[in-house]
Point group: C2
DNA sequence: GAAGTTCAGTTGTATAGTACAACGGAATTG
DNA sequence: CAATTCCGTTGTACTATACAACTGAACTTC
């Protein structure tokens, strides 16, 4: 469709702006909502739990983070007693991470309160709109999974 | 609506997860894309430009930032010669912000490269999908404009 | 119209999250 | 075994942020 270039650009600008606005607020909201489990730690912990045994390097690659950042975050999570490191018997360089009991528990609690917040916020959306919005976000993020520049 | 709780929850989880995933990467991507214009500064500058004369407090409210943060960011932008402050003649407390010539120019350049990145990323979306996605994001962010929790 | 209150913004201080660079030890490859 | 590559840590620095204390201007109320 070559007819409507302006409209397309406008939508792109809106998407860019609104996603960025969201990103800015997400941090603030996360900090307010769960003061004891920092945002990044939460995210990493969730990933560790999801993958059931991953390495620090995996986390760094997946989140586009420096390995030093991951190292410190993991250190913090370990100090909080939420993750454990197990040396890989085959390769001594590798530390396999997984959540402790407390980690799984903390994660569940955080997830619950997050879901409640979203629930309230999106209370007046129809299930149909929610599902379409979710689909768009999935599609958007999938596109960017292996980005560049 | 007690009928369809599962589907709704699932969508909520997806939205939550995907928005968070986006937020994670946004910073890294922005840092890579425009090393010279820091992410936050860019965002604030864009808002200032968009609103043609806004106050620091407006920015703080819109992005859920502390006024001190805004104050420093504006200070940085001013030092870079990208924004100017004009005292309001009617209310001496207020500083009306707007972009300088250089600010507008820097913004245009940054916006162009950002838009190009989004363009490429969203190349295979129809204009219709883009517009609906944009609308959802606007609605989502508007809902949260005056939140609490 | 002076005192108290609210509002806009700045500054001091502290913290999280991040990157980059330099390193250490372990594994792989020649 | 020497060189290289891989995983992780530590040192250092910087950005973004919050909270609290403050200044100064404008409203309120008597």
């Amino acid at each position: 469709m070559p007819g409507t270039p302006g409209e397309r650009e406008e939508s792109l600008d809106v998407i860019q702006r609104e996603l960025t606005a969201f990103a800015r607020r997400a941090r603030a909201a996360a900090a307010r909502l769960h003061p004891e489990l920092p945002l990044v730690s939460y995210t990493l912990l969730a990933h560790i739990d999801d993958q059931q045994g991953c390495r620090a390097t995996d986390l760094a690659a997946h989140y586009m983070l420096d390995k030093s950042t991951v190292s410190r975050q993991i250190g913090a999570l370990e100090k909080l007693g939420l993750v454990e490191r197990h040396p890989d018997p085959d390769d001594h360089r590798i530390q396999v991470l997984h959540p402790t009991e407390a980690g799984t528990q903390a994660l569940a609690a955080t997830q619950a309160s997050r879901r409640a917040a979203y629930q309230e916020r999106l209370a007046d959306w129809t299930a149909d709109d929610l599902s379409r919005f979710a689909a768009y976000l999935l599609r958007y993020n999938a596109t960017g999974d292996a980005p560049q520049s």
